[in-house]
């Protein structure tokens, strides 16, 4: 039983990690068009923040929309 709950926690941590990889990949492409220094400027950082939040909003809205179809 302890093993099962250990696996479950690891599994959900892993899902969060993989989502962060996916969001970084998507949002980096859109929010960081050029590489001229190693730092993020204020707009890039704001864009990355917005991007994650808008992506999650979209995801939630689509899940709710699909549930209402059933």
């Amino acid at each position: 039983k302890e093993i099962a709950s250990f696996l479950e926690v690891e599994n959900s941590k892993q899902k969060v990690q993989m989502s962060i990889h996916q969001f970084t990949n998507t949002c980096f492409k859109e929010c960081v068009p050029t590489v001229d220094s190693g730092d993020l400027n204020a707009q890039e950082e704001q864009c990355l923040n917005n991007c994650v939040n808008r992506f999650l909003d979209t995801n939630i809205r689509i899940v709710k929309g699909l549930q209402s179809l059933n």
């Binding site: 929010c31 979209t58 689509i62």
Partner: protein
């Protein structure tokens, strides 16, 4: 139980693909504002597209299995 797991895998794949596509079509960098109206319409269009594609593909499979070709 396997059938159910596959149904979950299918639903997850659908949610992911719709989210990706509708995020790209409805939202733009720097993602300051959402666009719920567009997301709703995009979801509706995606589901209709899914049905069109599904019918076309299954028609081809049946045609191929009738003619003995693949």
């Amino acid at each position: 139980q396997i059938t159910q797991e596959l149904a979950v895998a299918n639903a997850t794949e659908l949610v992911n693909k719709v989210t990706e596509n509708c995020f790209k079509k409805c939202l733009n960098s720097p993602y300051a504002d959402g666009n719920e109206n567009c997301v709703d319409q995009c979801l509706a269009k995606y589901m209709r597209s899914w049905n069109v594609v599904s019918r076309a593909y299954i028609a081809r499979i049946q045609q191929a299995s009738t003619s003995g070709d693949i």
